[in-house]
């Protein structure tokens, strides 16, 4: 019967919970779900991570391919992020061409990740070969706030990416992985950490679940960097200036917590050996 009420009157359903100072999944109103980060989950990738926000699960993997650099930028590599929301993660996504929501999130991911890497670092041999890193982010289960989990997974995957040593044949320019050589970790200019807070009738609901996402009027999504400065904002919250300032403050505190978890988990794992 509660499910019928939730279906028929979702706003009222949420309001009743908030009146008792609790969220439908039994959290405190301003609480976040438990975060779990696992690194190097995909052995065939150069770097990978799985991030779980409650039931939302996203896996990110970095695959490296050799590519020829653009003529105008002879020593710059590429990073090609892509986010997919397959039908298996939620029945609202149909099989076939990508859902517009996935395309929008992919575009946002491209914006977040541009500037994270110095692309000159991906150079193997100027004008001949550079690394092209394909960042595939796949949602395994969508229970709300997929974008946050996706960005954090992408950050963790990049942070743990280990580029193998390469050998360039002097005459032919043929590039191959050098099995004996020592690879290197990629240096990130900063680690983007996302925090999203949904807004429903004067209440701030951080880390919304799928049900809450459909009901709320807007969301404040911020990507922070290691020094608690804003790197990206998408704000459809409609908050007044002072409430916005308070929400940003709360969001930045959470980003420091997530960053320390990410660093701690990464240091516990050995970097994956070259394939």
């Amino acid at each position: 019967m509660a499910e019928d009420f939730q279906e028929a009157q979702p706003h009222e359903y949420l309001r009743l919970f908030l009146r008792d100072n609790v969220r439908p999944d039994n959290r405190a109103i301003t609480g976040f779900r438990d975060v779990r980060i696992h690194c190097n989950t995909v052995k065939s990738a150069l770097g990978s991570a799985m991030v779980c926000y409650g039931n939302t699960r996203v896996i990110a993997g970095v695959k490296g391919k050799f590519a020829t650099p653009h003529i105008d930028t002879p020593s710059r590599g590429y990073i090609v992020p892509n986010l997919s929301l397959p039908p298996l993660c939620n029945s609202k996504y149909r099989p076939g061409p990508p859902d517009p929501r996935a395309t929008v999130m992919s575009h946002k991911l491209v914006e977040v990740l541009s500037g994270v890497l110095d692309l000159e670092e991906l150079c193997i041999s100027a004008r001949r070969a550079v690394w092209a890193l394909y960042m595939d982010v796949v949602c395994i289960n969508d229970d709300g706030n997929v974008f946050d989990a996706a960005v954090l997974a992408a950050s963790a995957a990049l942070y743990n990416t280990y580029l193998p040593a390469t050998h360039v044949h002097e005459e032919t320019g043929f590039v191959s992985v050098d099995e004996e050589g020592e690879g290197r970790r990629i240096h990130l200019q900063y680690i983007p950490v996302p925090v999203s807070i949904a807004v429903f009738e004067e209440s701030l609901l951080p880390d919304p679940t799928e049900f809450e996402e459909d009901v709320v009027s807007g969301t404040l999504s911020v990507c922070w960097d290691d020094s608690c400065k804003i790197r990206n904002i998408w704000n459809s919250s409609g908050l007044t200036d002072d409430k916005l300032a308070a929400a940003l403050e709360y969001s930045s505190k959470r980003s420091s917590v997530l960053l320390s978890i990410l660093r701690r988990v990464s240091s516990q794992h050995q970097p994956s050996s070259p394939p």
């Binding site: 914006e111 804003i230 409609g238 940003l248």
Partner: protein
Amino acid sequence: MLGDDTHLKLRPIESEVSLLGNCDGSARVRQGSTSVLVGIWGPVEVRQSRELPDKATLEVSVKYCTGQGTPRDTYSEDVVASVCREVILLSEHPRTSIQVNVQVESDDGSVLAVTANALCLALMDAGLPLRSQFAAVCCVTNPTTNDTDTTPTVTWDPTCEEEGDDTTARYLFVYDSDSRNVIFSNYTGGQCEVREYLLYLQKGRQLANQIFSYFRESFEKFLRKDVKFQLLLSGSDKVKGNGP
């Protein structure tokens, strides 16, 4: 530089309303050389698979002058849909569809801001129930090359050239006319402190106020030519009873 308001100006705005005969509402806004045309159909019949029992279904299509079906189009559609959902009272027209079609006629920077402005005029023209009007402004900031002064240079309503590439810091703010709060905003392209973001938000609000007065003037001019509206103003005796 952050403190002074000498850079706080927009390019010259021109607009036309109700220019597309077949649409319920349409508007074209030109800011500098950027020109965007918005056509609105609604409320109209909706495909049963998309029908919503309690509100209107929003269908947005954005087309740029070059390219078709690119991720940029889909992202722009999401921004426009986000603004529409905040502002249109969709629950007034359940089981119908409201179709918003945006055509970017020429892109010389600040496209999303100009789109939002054209969208507002088109929604007013279509007579859809709105929570408030809205106006959008955007700006780019560049780190200053002057050694002594570290405040960045701000350019409001930038042209394509001023927008530069992906590494330029870009802000977009859409304000509502009722509370002047931000109903949509976006920032990318570098590091930004919280107080900087809030400062530009406040500065942008002053420009948005200019846009709101411009909307009022231009809509009043448009209504002066509208026969039905003039009859309504002049006296209700002529309009009561039999229609024209």
